[in-house]
Symmetry: C2
């Protein structure tokens, strides 16, 4: 019998991993199979395992309730006559900080599986797992000190302005083209042709994917969701145009490998509409494949460039939006919540930065505004940063959070943390709707608190000197003036009936009315 190993005990929503030796000759990635079948009570969940190189096969499973789980492992990983392996393990209750995967509930809202409301404060470091280990560690440290509880990143390496370096590892066996002397004009050069690459798309490089295992686990430990981007257009290696067979093999491998991590979200693509080699039917096929292979129903969407994906597709769990104009983004949240009846997650609202490219140079004020606008309308907002220290000869090698990770330098993260705290204090959970009666400001109201019990007005770039309110005479509110930029909350006392609040005439102010 083959040497196998697995733990006797796993925490609820943690990764149970069955490890076994198997055949390493030939091409195990395409010639060998390993599957697990997990039973708890009357339920049975079937999952694919995967080959991890060096004669090792893994089957991962995420148990979702405390108790005993019995399982069977089969497949031809040990040869055509491999005997099924049967075993069992016990599942302990989730410990503090482990709330299970994020799911859609109440149509447009996000909750952890244990019922804790989830407001997604995302950020993006597309290629951070492709950078040096030291830089990855710095990114992790920055993340854990930040307000962000989700990060978007790519499994494939990235080629773009400011991104000319080779990745730490490649996802497939083979060799990249000689691309010495890359510069800003190389974007053009690689749009259609990818010269000199030689890849065997049937042979994964497990070391590449093992690093993602580690990083997803690191994020999980810190309560950060991993929004995994399966495909993207910014490529000089040809991974954006491998053909349907290789795409599907890769997708199956990713799902088998990563789905047992509770913090995984599937993002089929960054800017799907810039990937010329894939058509609508390809995305549909890939989306259905992810859904079919993932037994846990992780969140799954497709992020757009100029044109929204059809978020109404049944396998799309939420709208992963990029604003389609420099001028508009999260102000449109209520419109899209209404149109799609799914959670709206703004995964790009431009970048706090100062780079030359037009999507990468909004101010900290504008980034903070976009968070308030979206969050108060019941959407979720993601941050990004592209801040250069200087324009010099090394500018193309700059470390930018947006892609490389590293250190957060912008002014918005601190303000986003302040907003997160304000929203955490909302009675009845942090989930907010836009008050439809408020025509000239943003006014968030709790979804599940009594009507009229709480209002959070946000005046955005507007700067009224005062505001009048008209309530029934016996209605008393505790009024707080919030400076969203300077991060102060000033109590103005209790007010009732018709009252006037002096708001000061500066931009970025908010008012909080809590019924006493």
């Amino acid at each position: 019998m083959r040497k196998a190993d697995y733990p006797a005990q796993t925490e609820q929503w943690d990764v149970f991993e069955y490890r076994t030796e198997g055949i390493s000759s030939g091409n195990p990635f395409v010639e060998r199979t390993i599957r697990g079948s997990f039973r708890s009570g009357t339920r049975e969940v079937k999952v694919d395992g995967f080959y991890d190189g060096d004669g090792v096969y893994l089957v991962r499973y995420m148990p979702d309730e405390p108790g005993e789980v019995s399982f069977t492992i089969d497949g031809n990983y040990g040869g055509d006559r491999t005997e099924p392996f049967m075993g069992s393990f016990s599942v302990t209750k989730a410990t503090e900080g482990n709330h299970g995967p994020v799911r859609v509930q109440d149509r447009t809202r996000l909750f952890y599986t244990d019922g804790t409301p989830h407001l997604s404060f995302g950020t993006t470091c597309y290629a951070w797992v492709h950078q040096s280990t030291a830089l990855q560690e710095e990114t992790l440290a920055s993340l854990t000190a930040s307000p962000f509880n989700k990060i978007r990143f790519c499994i494939f390496p990235k080629h773009y302005d400011y991104n000319y370096n080779e990745p730490l590892t490649y996802p497939f066996e083979g060799t990249p083209g000689d691309t010495g002397g890359l510069d800003r004009s190389s974007m053009q050069r690689f749009t259609e042709e990818k010269p000199g690459n030689h890849w065997d798309f049937t042979r994964f490089r497990p070391e590449h994917f093992r690093r993602f295992d580690e990083r997803i686990r690191d994020l999980m430990k810190h309560g950060i969701e991993a929004d995994l981007i399966l495909f993207h257009p910014y490529d000089r290696w040809g991974f954006d145009g491998m053909g349907a067979e290789a795409d599907d093999r890769y997708v199956r491998y990713c799902v088998a490998r990563f789905a047992a991590f509770r913090n995984v979200w599937w993002s089929l693509a960054n800017e799907y509409d810039f990937i010329r080699s894939k058509k609508a039917e390809d995305w549909e096929r890939i989306g259905r494949l992810v859904t079919a292979c993932d037994p846990y129903g992780h969140l799954c969407s497709v992020h757009n460039g100029p044109t929204f994906y059809d978020f109404s597709r049944d396998w799309v769990t939420h709208c992963s939006c990029q604003g389609t104009s420099r001028y508009r983004s999260t102000e449109q949240s209520a419109e899209f919540l209404d149109r799609y009846q799914k959670p709206v997650v703004w995964d790009e609202v431009l970048y706090e930065g100062n780079i030359d490219l037009g999507w990468g140079n909004i101010t900290g004020e504008e980034m903070t505004r976009r968070f308030w606008e979206g969050m108060l309308r019941g959407a979720h907002v993601g941050h990004g940063e592209t801040l250069l220290d200087a324009v010099d000869e090394q500018v193309d090698d700059a470390i930018l959070w947006w892609s490389h990770g590293g250190r957060l330098k912008g002014e918005s993260p601190e303000r986003i943390a302040f907003l997160k705290k304000i929203l955490k204090d909302v009675p009845g959970g942090p989930l907010l709707n836009q008050d439809p009666a408020c025509w000239d400001a943003v006014c968030g109201i709790p979804a599940n608190a009594p009507a009229g019990s709480y209002y959070l007005y946000y005046f955005s770039f507007l700067r009224p000197l005062f505001r009048d309110f008209h309530f029934p005479e016996d209605t008393v509110y505790r009024v707080d003036l919030i400076d969203t930029w300077n991060m102060t909350v000033t109590p103005l006392g209790e007010m009732s009936g018709n009252f006037r609040v002096v708001t000061g005439g500066k931009p970025w102010m908010a008012l909080r009315l809590t019924r006493v």
Copy 2:
């Protein structure tokens, strides 16, 4: 024969006025007529005159070319057997500063009749002609010192927050309702009913209209267009719901009275869609009536509240736009120019101010931005201001430029003057198109200059640290860095081929490339 008077000589595009005594008994406004027929060369123009009270009748005519004009005056103004009066006068060539009326040319552009390009830098003081004479004089002084070359204002008085005072005069004989103790809740009170008013809509009060004559003439002298608003919804006197017969009589009176002033534009309404008593067919009837009565074809449009008027109607000369969201305005200029194929004039882009109402508290930066965004896309932009000095017990009596006129206090007018100067320096006239090749900034290009000869990039609220340009090697540009807020132009020298411009990483910057 009745005593009559008229000048022997009038300047081209100036007002020729024939004045005669006539019958004052009965109701001359409805029972009497006076018409003029003016012949120069083979052309004949017929105009209606009007009764000016006290037994005086006027016929006004705007000659449009130098030479001799002969004319006939007839009608029953002197009794049923009044003899036609025949006379003539000579027309002298327009003197400096007199360019004739503004007209549409090249489909989407504005020119004075003498061929001088016109960029409309508007402002709005809705009720300034209804305020005290001293305040009107202050408004005029402010206007002539400002960059603004158009002002929107109402012939009917205004009732709204901050506008509770009675007008200097009323347009009709009669008495207003007793409206003592008006306050902010009175808006509601007057939306449907207008209690206590007693007006005779068949009898105009000429003194009311004479003040408008004077003010239009004052504006004309200073080269400022008078965008006359015929109807508006902010009313406690019932002038917004007089019925079709009275509306038409009033419109005919206004056209007979004001059309000979070359600087008149007709605005059928401010926020037509808030006037509940008038339907689409009323606006169409009024629009056709204005066009039929006005022999000079003055610019004519209808300004919207939440919903654009159908600017494609043939009697609508230009789009008189108000943005339909707090967040969007002049960025949409290219879209509307393309859709309507008519000049786009943004007559409300919110107000630089700090009042409580959500449309009245943008910053000077935002107002300035909206001008740059619109003007560089080939549209025209109008300013407005609602700046309070303080919130105190007198706040409801504040003098706000938006409605009362007075003194400009905002930060934007100076910057708008700076933009006006920049646009005046554009080679080949100040008219700009948006460069369709520029995806990530606004880039105005001259409509009638050689391709590639001039680019004006505006980075708006974005703040790139630098920008790269890619031109053929032998193409040399003089590069100027423009700070649109601090109003500086910094020459950066001549650059050619592929070059990098350090733009500094602050918002509100622009770059000007002039081919050498």
